[in-house]
Symmetry: C2
Subunit: 408 residues, 2 copies
């Protein structure tokens, strides 16, 4: 039997596409002691968290709450609860997380239709409308910002489009919420799901989600589980939600005043989620969007000055993650290893068609800060120089300073 020492992570500045360094206030909140699941203080706190995330999502949706799992659990809870086997769903894919949405929909038994565009690009409203006309889906499921490509699909107008074509609009805003403009009600979004580990500055493991009354109605109509199960012999006629853990109808009941027992709430993650929202709202949503925009632009200016060509359609780039082409002759993994091992700074690799070609550098949540940006640029310049890629001395840092100077 070998028993290791108490946990002692190495110091890291996490400047990848997420998870990022957690705000210390969030970690402190998570060290608060537990209370019972139905303690009046606990149920009050659950209600308070609903209110906080209504503000974060800019929505009046009653059903704004947490799914106890990572952002992926939130995505699956939404889709498996909305979609019955055979239901048509349209998934526009412009990066890795679009593929994930499609896969989750397939697992739920849906009739999945996809349209695809090149990584780094987004869809025009016309392309989306044409697909909606063609597919006539029950749900349009789209990623907002896809960190795999560093670009965000514009969402304004999409809700109206969906309304017109009788579809519900689901948005995965894991990577954007809190750091990019996101307006649930104003944009006509029916369901949105997120996570803490990006712009919200917390650890992965809790998924804030919101459901419009229209989406709730669709989900609640599937609630007669027992009937569904009894009809199982004729599987086309009635489909109970395929998951118990991710059954939003039951999770709504658990968070409702009825407090019907479901899972045992992950209280420490709830404390963390609460603190993430609290910190964000204390700063102000518009202020946080502007902060992410500023530090994202500083990172873009700095990396450009270092001679790194930006990746993707800049007009649609996310505020919180910059993609840059790995220069010819430079080994991307070696540079990342030196950044991590010698400077304690993590930057991100890429997946799929971008693997080995693009680095992704995040400036989000707690790490959307001047010192984090400047440290990263200084280290990157030094490491790139040793890897044979030269820029004018101090070029990256100077460009960021210039941008900050202009911005102030």
């Amino acid at each position: 039997m070998s028993i290791p020492a108490s946990i002692n992570p190495p110091p890291r500045l996490l400047m990848g596409p997420g998870p990022i360094t957690a705000d210390p206030r969030v970690l402190r909140a998570m060290s608060a002691q537990l209370v019972g699941q139905y303690d009046p203080w606990m149920t009050d706190t659950m209600n308070e968290v609903m209110g906080l995330y209504r503000q974060v999502y800019i929505t009046d949706n009653q059903q704004t709450l947490l799914v106890d799992g990572t952002s992926r659990a939130g995505i699956e809870a939404a889709l498996v609860s909305l979609l019955e086997p055979g239901d048509r769903v349209l998934v526009p894919i412009f990066g890795r997380f679009g593929h994930l949405l499609a896969e989750i929909c397939r697992r739920a038994g849906a009739d999945v239709h996809t349209i695809e565009t090149e990584w780094g690009q987004v869809f025009t409203e016309e392309a989306l409308e044409a697909a909606l006309v063609d597919v006539q889906p029950k749900v349009l499921a789209v990623v907002h910002g896809d960190t795999s490509t560093t670009v965000a699909q514009p969402l304004e107008g999409l809700g109206e489009l969906c309304e017109r074509h009788g579809a519900l609009l689901y948005v995965d805003c894991t990577a954007t919420l809190g750091g990019n403009e996101f307006r649930t009600d104003e944009w006509g979004i029916d369901v949105a799901t997120s996570g803490l580990q990006k712009c919200l500055g917390g650890p992965s493991g809790s998924a804030p989600v919101t459901f419009s009354p229209r989406a709730v109605e669709v989900i609640e109509s599937r609630k007669s589980i027992e009937e569904g199960i009894r009809a199982e012999g004729d599987p086309v006629s009635a489909h109970p939600i395929r998951s118990n853990y991710l059954d939003m109808a039951q999770i709504f009941d658990y968070w409702s005043e009825r407090r019907l027992n479901h899972h045992t709430e992950a209280t420490t993650m709830l404390y963390g989620s609460r603190e993430c929202a609290r910190i964000l709202l204390q700063e102000g949503l518009a202020q946080s969007w502007a902060r992410h925009d500023l530090h994202g632009r500083a990172m873009l200016a700095g990396t450009t000055a270092l001679g790194l060509e930006p990746f993707g359609a800049l007009a649609y780039r996310m505020t919180n993650v910059v993609g840059v082409h790995i220069p010819d002759g430079v080994n991307g993994d070696e540079v990342r290893a030196a950044m991590l091992e010698d400077f304690g700074i993590e930057i991100g690799t890429s997946f799929g068609p971008l693997h080995g070609k693009v680095w992704r550098i995040g400036t989000m949540g707690y790490n959307a800060r001047t010192d984090a940006v400047l440290q990263t640029l200084a280290a990157l310049e030094a490491v790139l120089r040793r890897a044979g890629h030269r820029a004018a001395a101090g070029a990256g840092v100077d460009a960021a300073y210039d941008l900050y100077g202009t911005a102030v």
Copy 2:
């Protein structure tokens, strides 16, 4: 916009059936800062956690790891990954969590067969064998200790029985692991899933699970998802695992040396899980089982001395939770409210057929301690007295003292 103050839970001694007061060391470990998902330190730590839980589960199973969700996520991950639609599963139900297993199996599309016994009782080996012969299931899915009834199904011999009848043995040991004898390999258990919030002394939100090579083989054989999806037109011929988030085949890959990306690990919950296992192994499994047994017996002696009749088959009672009948003429909810509001001590109510009839008092994890037992008994005597139920002054505490004296 209203923004509440930082989190400030009221002080509580959680003596219900779980969640219980977390060990402060676990909460401290959870305040450690994050590192990146593929940081060598992080992947080393994931491997370390696998090793720790192999010791906790007393198993050589390579696939011993965490599911990122509450104990219920672990249950569903196991069952939805093992069971294809139409597969026969046998679920012996002796309390609420047996019903949960059956429901989760139904949602997975399985052909669910149940046998039931009265709450408070367990099944004989003969009854289980007869059902195995009758149903010929692919999986026997059974709860070890069902907190809803405070009794535990004996598991020794069950593995051999399943082997003989060609079934896999799945056990939900959420409420027992760490505080009751549990031997995965020796008892021939193929799959077991648990949670942190009972005898492991942590918060809900991470599910330690273990899978035998035989179970892994069954799950891996379902892995050709794409084939399954292509064959979806003929849904009987090929069934990909119905969940992405809870797909154990993908989660195995994520925890393997291949590190295939799945969800973003809930790092803070991983730190907590690691500390729970570390504390338990530092104490020693046999020592922890004995400690739970001792304090459970003290609580039983104390409540009996207070004139509270124990509930359920005492020969099969769990070490870590005592069920007692609410005395005639006493309002159970009022007593629980006074315990909570006036003494800060939570004891549990009951569900289903026991609702309003039985209290459940836990002594587990961090709260399997002399002071926690004595405080609870002293408070309970005082509150019961005010509710009109009288016992000899100090009877509960004295009985516990006597038991501790004998036990030393």
